[in-house]
């Protein structure tokens, strides 16, 4: 069936390219601040051009500034689902969500805030650990994906994900985007808009772009290993936390203001 014809993001393609250019100068300068961000390596990095292989020199991540996330705004959710052809059928319990807005209340202070919840692109992803076929995999650059050709739809990854980040495709899918194939009976989740990332340049995932367009700037996407990146600088300047940090998954998505 054509709906499963996805160009596989094979981990095999992700062999480290040893001939890659390295900016040692930047690295030395960055080393001092780098140690201040727990879980981030001090490897040097730069933007990758589309024809270069995916390597560990990059780790894509995101910072969510909860204070900037506007109440009632769902621009990120709408943009994501538009971008990736994630359609709903008016059946809330089975409709897929790649990203969703969640409202929390601090039990002690009563403070309330909303925030988007998406795949956290864990460094040690439980979904990948349990997947029997290896359909769930983590690319060298930290993006966690599902290979739609080998997912058998067992849903063990959904049982294992601590963030309920995954959805099972419960219905026949239509109107798919060529870059985001979806097939009934398989599992899907946020890809960090990997098609944009792989296109290179300054492209961000649709959610971050939409948030910015709304003027909220609550989502900052970037390379956690690139000391030049805005994301990296922000993480060294402001405090951030991981959701369920007790599980020590070293998530790629961090939250500020929780």
């Amino acid at each position: 069936m054509s709906e499963f014809d996805e160009a596989r993001q094979d981990p095999e393609d992700a062999k480290p390219d040893l001939a890659r250019r390295r900016f040692f100068g930047t690295a030395a300068a960055a080393a001092a601040v780098a140690t201040m961000v727990p879980g981030l390596s001090i490897l040097p990095a730069s933007a990758r051009s589309p024809d270069e292989p995916v390597t560990e020199d990059q780790r894509w991540g995101m910072l969510v500034d909860v204070n900037k996330c506007a109440d009632g705004c769902t621009a990120c959710v709408d943009a994501c689902h538009e971008e990736n052809g994630v359609t709903h059928h008016g059946r809330p319990t089975t409709d897929p969500y790649w990203i969703r807005k969640v409202k929390l209340r601090d039990r002690m202070t009563g403070r309330e805030y909303g925030m988007p919840l998406l795949c956290q692109h864990c460094e040690k992803p439980p979904c990948v650990d349990v997947c029997p076929t290896g359909a769930s995999f983590r690319r060298a650059d930290g993006i966690v994906l599902v290979d739609k050709h080998i997912c058998i739809g067992c849903r063990y990854c959904m049982m294992a994900c601590p963030y309920k980040a995954r959805s099972f495709i419960h219905e026949v899918t239509t109107d798919q985007k060529p870059h985001a194939p979806r097939g009934k009976g398989t599992v899907e989740s946020c890809t960090f808009c990997v098609h944009r990332v792989d296109a290179g340049g300054d492209q961000q995932p649709a959610c971050a772009e939409a948030c910015q367009a709304e003027g909220h700037e609550a989502l900052v996407f970037g390379d956690l290993r690139d000391p030049e990146s805005r994301l990296y600088r922000l993480l060294t300047e402001i405090s951030s936390r991981q959701l369920r940090e007790d599980l020590a998954l070293n998530t790629g998505v961090r939250y500020h203001g929780i």
Binding site: L104, R105, I150, G153, Y156, M159, H170, G185, R244, L247
Partner: protein, 405 residues
């Protein structure tokens, strides 16, 4: 002791054909249900993005757990050298194979893409306990088949003990593996307990033996072959012990959970205020599935009656299904905590609320098809090969009765 004589089921009686017909129909209906769910997509089931494993998994896990337990009777004969169990070993092995096949059939037919079974068998992620289970299951099938062959083939008879030991060890690992499917789900408060694995082993003893006893009693009644009180008396006492042991391990599981403050809310949900789940746990598993059967097998007013013994076995099976349901569905229905110290007050994706689940008819029919597959394998097995002893009358099986005679 006399040598035990085994025979196939002779002839094609109307009764035999009727059983085949009924089981065949159950299987066909279940396959139809699976096709329907597959074709429409899983939205037609009660399963959702919140409760991702539903009724089919309840049946599948129950059958797989019971499969290893059904082998127990053979193990007691071979590994622990109890002569009375030896004539029962062949049926025990056959039932173990059949139950496993039934459980796996359900598991596969509920996959989102059952057509990719070949993928599941050729691509392995060795870190996944699920992938290991695929090996454990196929290995179990092979070892039990060899064990049966060695038992039934005179030339290979001297090796059957070794095969019996292998099968015994393998079944313990297998149930540990099944229990560990839950143990690896660290994110869910209901599942990440080490005690899950031994608890599943003990539950397998009692579920498997209950099924064995029902199948044994039914087949000897229908075939009009003698089945003495000596065999049944032993089995029923054993069933009582296993049921008590399972209850004990379940109690330990809950008590250890209560040690950790982080699990208190979950335990309250499962045991007190979680609506259907505490009801099913206390009413279904504890009272109907454990206490009642123990009374029936041990109280002199009932224990001599075969009807009550049959009822006791059926209640253990019902209680077992209920217990798996509570563990599996209750564990998913309970909301996961995202941020300690915070409650989730709204979400389009049902975060922070107890997820609803009502099993749909097709799911149930698929589960029943697994039971059908298991039983039809037994019915056909005893027809084509020599699984059942001609007699299990007291003087034929009880070494003391023989000695006295």
């Amino acid at each position: 002791m006399k040598t035990v004589q085994y025979t196939e089921v002779k002839g094609w009686s109307t009764g035999y054909l009727a059983i085949l017909g009924v089981l065949g129909a159950i299987i066909v209906v279940g396959l139809g249900a699976a096709y329907y769910m597959e074709h429409q997509g899983h939205w037609v089931t009660g399963m959702s993005n919140q409760v991702v494993w539903g009724m089919p998994h309840v049946f599948a896990i129950f059958l797989i757990v019971a499969a290893s337990g059904a082998l127990n009777v053979a193990s007691i004969g071979t590994v622990f050298g109890k002569p009375m169990y030896k004539p029962l070993a062949r049926l025990s092995g056959l039932l173990a194979l059949a139950l496993l096949a039934g459980g796996l059939a359900v598991l596969v037919l509920d996959l989102g893409r059952p057509d990719r079974l070949i993928v599941a068998m050729t691509k392995y992620n060795f870190r996944s306990i699920f992938a290991w289970n695929i090996f454990l299951y196929t290995g179990f099938m092979v070892i039990v088949a060899v064990y049966l062959w060695f038992m039934m083939e005179a030339r290979m008879n001297r090796y059957y003990k070794t095969a019996g030991y292998a099968a015994f060890i393998w079944r313990l690992i297998l149930t540990t593996g099944t229990g560990s499917i839950f143990g690896f789900l660290v994110a869910r408060p209901g599942y990440d307990a080490a005690v899950m694995a031994p608890m599943f082993i003990v539950m397998s003893f009692s579920f498997g033996l209950a099924i064995f006893m029902l199948v044994l009693m039914a087949s000897y009644k229908w075939l009009a072959r003698p089945l003495g009180d000596a065999v049944l008396g032993r089995l029923k006492n054993l069933l009582g012990v296993f049921v008590a042991a399972a209850l004990y391990f379940v109690a330990v599981q809950h008590l250890t959970n209560l040690y950790a403050a982080e699990h208190h809310a979950f335990e309250a949900f499962m045991l007190l205020d979680g609506g259907i789940y505490p009801l099913l746990f206390w009413g279904g598993f504890v009272v109907v599935g454990s206490i009642l059967p123990m009374v029936l097998v041990w109280h002199p007013a009932f224990s001599a009656s075969r009807t009550w013994l049959g009822v006791a076995s059926a209640l253990v099976i019902l209680g077992g299904l209920t217990q798996i349901y509570v563990i599996l569905i209750g564990g998913q229905a309970y909301p996961m905590e995202m941020l300690p110290g915070h409650e989730i007050i709204s979400s389009a994706f049902f975060d922070g609320v107890v997820a609803g689940y009502s099993p749909s008819l097709p799911e149930f029919l698929l589960g029943m098809a697994g039971v059908g597959v298991a039983l039809i394998m037994v019915v056909i097995g005893v027809k084509v090969l020599r699984f059942l002893p001609v007699t299990l009358a007291d003087e034929a099986v009880d070494p003391h009765a023989t000695a006295k005679a």
